[in-house]
């Protein structure tokens, strides 16, 4: 029972979504909308599970003085401050929640995002080492694309005598565009097509109950 009920729900919901994609006639669109509405309802209700889990884990950490417990009060105070200010005064403009969100949450998010620039530099440094011919090819392509995406690439090209008057006065940006539009696009599409087929195959495995490990357990 514990296995067959979830399998039956998966099969019915999966088949409804497949059928409503191909059959526009009622009742399939209505059923498809219904399944999606149910997901939204379940997901919205489940947010309380997340909140309870967050509080339970951190309160337990403080109570048992677990390792790094000192961070937990910060989390709890932060959560309660946002929660209480949102419930008490609302979340519209000119409210404490709005102020806290814009003055604290947004800058902290932006700070994390800005770290990406440094991580890109360190990852690129490793990735672009000319250790073999394929890495060298990658390095050369990346160099050309980066050069072609900034004005100085074409400026350098046009310094070469006769280049500005040639049939390709913006050769560096043209090469960069070609790399992005052809080899890069072909690679991306290959990945996308493979992934799309993986998505379809995984979905079919789940709908027909061949793949059951997501229900818990490996079989």
């Amino acid at each position: 029972m514990r296995l067959y009920v979830p399998l039956a729900i998966t099969f019915v919901a999966g088949m409804i979504m497949i059928l409503q994609f191909f059959i526009p006639h009622q009742p399939f669109p209505m059923l498809g909308d219904g399944v999606q509405d149910w997901y939204v309802i379940v997901a919205s209700s489940a947010i309380f599970l997340g909140i309870l889990n967050l509080l339970r884990v951190h309160v337990k950490k403080i109570r048992l003085r677990k390792r790094h417990w000192q961070y937990s009060p910060v989390t709890i105070v932060g959560f309660l401050t946002m929660f209480v200010s949102g419930v008490a005064w609302g979340v519209t403009e000119e409210t404490p929640f709005y102020y806290l969100f814009n003055q604290m949450v947004v800058p902290m998010g932006a700070t994390m995002f800005s770290l990406l620039a440094f991580f890109v530099a360190s990852a690129a440094f490793r990735a672009f080492r000319a250790s073999n011919w394929r890495a060298t090819l990658l390095l050369a392509s990346a160099f050309l694309v980066m050069l072609g995406r900034v004005p100085i690439g074409d400026i350098i090209w046009r310094w070469i005598p006769g280049a500005a008057e040639s049939s390709h006065p913006y050769l560096v940006s043209e090469i960069a565009e070609w790399i992005m539009q052809f080899p890069n696009m072909a690679g991306q599409r290959a990945i996308l097509i493979g992934a799309a087929m993986g998505v379809v195959a995984t979905s079919l495995r789940m709908i027909f109950g061949i793949e059951r490990s997501y229900l818990g357990g490996a079989d």
């Binding site: 526009p24 006639h25 209505m30 994390m112 997501y214 357990g217």
Partner: protein, 385 residues
């Protein structure tokens, strides 16, 4: 004298030029038809605009009401070329007029035209997708049967998945935890579902080896599913005592808040093995580089093409696109799952052949007309709205 004549001519020339430039745009060729590929209850009205620059002020669509009069059902800007009337009864005929307004007056009237709304049983823009799905499902079902019959199915080695045991074993030897990050999307995302499937396999190994498994999640539904999946894996491995629900915990729904939280866990707990499997966006490199900085062996996987280069640069192993979805079958070695994987591979081979034929036909079409028909057929087959 000549100057005066010229001066007199200028306004006349300008007026003629203005008249030519302000050529009125006519509304013509009004047509009404059942709105295609829908559940019915809608009629599409289309009209064309003639050449010119002086567009009408507005275009009003009127429908014949049950009492025989006309009621306005839509007012469109003068540059529009169609409208859709919805909320209609299927099987009943509806008549329409279109009025063109200029300077506050009705400049022209088109119609009446009529159409009968109806529901369609097959989305005509998606039948190609249906054919593809049937072919794919056919190959998968065939190879599942072959797997069940005990046929030896060769699946190429996927280094990232072969390394799962090594990664968990390394964590056990070092006495450090395994960190599993299932991405930032919810359970309605197929990559998250695939990640949950792999989590079950990884949890079975951590249960067997006795390594702590940490799973920080960013969605409440993912939290519930992760807890169930890990708990069942520990039960099946005969180690229910080793399962700790507190190790699977919710952080935040916020993308960079989640990235900050996971980074903090990496730095504090110093996991020996990190799995980054699921849907990732801009946080992918932030997580992977931090994981690398703590010296963890990292296995990443996603079907997001824009994030794959980051994972490849920063992680030890990367599951590229479809490999993420193949992981469950590969790790379980169960004949039915391996059969479905083999079927998927053979279907892929078939579609590669179709793509090559399509590209060749399209290229040859410039020199040999029949090749264009082949290319058009393949384009029709693969076009999905």
């Amino acid at each position: 004298m000549k100057t005066r004549t010229f001066s007199a001519m200028v306004p006349a020339v300008l007026l003629i030029a203005a008249a030519v430039a302000a050529q009125p745009v006519r509304v013509e060729n009004l047509e009404a038809q059942d709105s295609p590929n829908d559940a019915g209850g809608a009629v599409e009205l289309r009209w064309s605009l003639s050449d010119g620059t002086d567009f009408p002020d507005s275009i009003t669509v009127l429908r014949e009401s049950p009492d025989g009069g006309m009621e306005v059902v839509g007012t469109k800007p003068g540059v529009s070329t169609g409208d859709v009337d919805t909320g209609l009864e299927n099987g009943r005929e509806y008549s329409y007029l279109v009025r063109v307004h200029r300077g506050g007056e009705v400049a022209a009237e088109l119609g009446p035209v009529s159409a009968v709304p109806a529901a369609q049983w097959l989305h005509t823009e998606r039948w190609g997708m249906l054919v593809i799905l049937i072919i794919l499902a056919g190959f998968i079902l065939y190879f599942i049967e072959q797997g069940k019959k005990g046929r030896e199915l060769y699946i190429r080695e996927i280094a990232g998945l072969t390394a799962v045991d090594d990664a968990v074993g390394r964590a056990t030897e070092m006495g450090r935890p395994v960190l599993y990050v299932p991405g930032i999307m919810d359970m309605d995302n197929i990559q998250t579902i695939a990640s949950m499937v792999i989590l079950g396999r990884v949890a079975a190994r951590t249960a067997k080896f006795g390594s702590p498994l940490l799973v920080p999640v960013s969605k409440s539904v993912v939290l519930s599913v992760s807890q169930e999946v890990v708990k069942e894996s520990y039960l099946e491995a005969g180690r229910p005592d080793a399962y700790q629900s507190d190790n699977i915990f919710y952080l935040t729904d916020d993308q960079f808040g989640y990235a900050a939280g996971v980074d903090g866990i990496m730095v504090r707990e110093r996991p020996a093995a990190i799995f980054l499997l699921g849907t990732f966006y801009a946080e992918s490199l932030i997580l992977a580089e931090t994981g690398r900085s703590v010296g963890a062996i990292q296995i990443a996987g996603t079907a997001m093409p824009s994030q794959l280069p980051f994972f490849i640069a920063a992680c030890d192993y990367t599951l590229i696109g479809e490999e993420l979805f193949a992981a469950s079958a590969y790790l379980s070695r169960e004949p039915k799952l391996l059969g479905s994987l083999k079927g998927q591979d053979v279907a892929k081979l078939f579609f590669i052949a179709v793509i090559i034929v399509g590209v060749l036909a399209f290229t040859l079409g410039d020199f040999w007309e029949p090749a264009n028909e082949v290319a058009d057929f393949i384009r029709l087959l693969t076009h999905v709205e």
